[in-house]
Amino acid sequence: MKNKNVFGFLMNPFTRIAGWQAFGLGLFFVVLMGLLGAYSDIAFDGVIDMHMIDISLLQSFLYLGIDLVCLVVVMWITGLIVSTNFRFIDILGTMTLAKAPFLLLSIAGFFTATPDLSEIYKNPYIIFQSVSFVILIALSIPVIIWSITLMYNAFKISCDIKGSKLTVAFIIALLVSEALSKVLIYLFV
């Protein structure tokens, strides 16, 4: 029963925490992600995306800043279209906290040996020779699923939408925010 409660809280903490509290906690995780990501060569170059590349501290935070702004703004605009009354701070706080699972990938980056890029271009299958890299890829799947689940619940609770309207609006908003973050990162970073 207790395990079920903990799992439920990890999948949807927003019944308990939202607004400024969620934003403060989420920002802590995001700053930590930026810091650790810069040293573990993990770049979050998309709302639900990450790559192993050598980046500076500034680049790491710029990527995360653009990701967060795209996610929050697009979800907010979508919320304005499909919902009647909600607070911006709830979208801001819950979406920021929804990024928290990616911290695990920032940490995992320290234990990952990236195969040589020039070798990967010659033979892409060489990535499977790095066990730690394969583990990182494998770990990224549940982390991304977890983060998307959090984003979905954040959107649901912040905007009070239900059913197919929620699902369709969320999917469109997520895809748009991911595409927008990619474009902005390409143009400005």
């Binding site: 019944t15 308990r16 925490i17 607004g19 607070r87 709830d90 609770i157 009070d160």
Partner: protein
């Protein structure tokens, strides 16, 4: 908890008899249950808490250990139920 729906056919119950325990007077008729009585016990407790907190959802969220949007969503659900009960009356 006051029963509000028929246990047999689930139609909405009406009040037919009210009795005074002090003098034994009985008032008979066919009275609709008030809308608030049609709500579940949890919803009624929510409304009482809302009134006692002077309508402050922030205070309620703090007492119920829930987030503000969660409490607001619960209120929205109750508003929706009340509107549907009033429409059906």
């Amino acid at each position: 908890m006051l029963p509000t729906y028929c246990p047999s056919c689930h139609a909405q119950l009406k009040v037919e008899c009210l009795k005074c325990e002090s003098c034994g007077t009985e008032v008979n008729g066919s009275y609709d249950l008030p809308v608030l009585a049609l709500l579940s016990e949890d919803d009624q407790q929510f409304i009482l808490r809302f009134v006692k907190n002077s309508g402050s959802l922030k205070e309620m969220a703090s007492q119920m250990k829930l987030s503000y949007p969660t409490v607001r969503n619960l209120l929205n659900d109750i508003i929706h139920k009340i509107n549907s009960y009033e429409t059906s009356l």
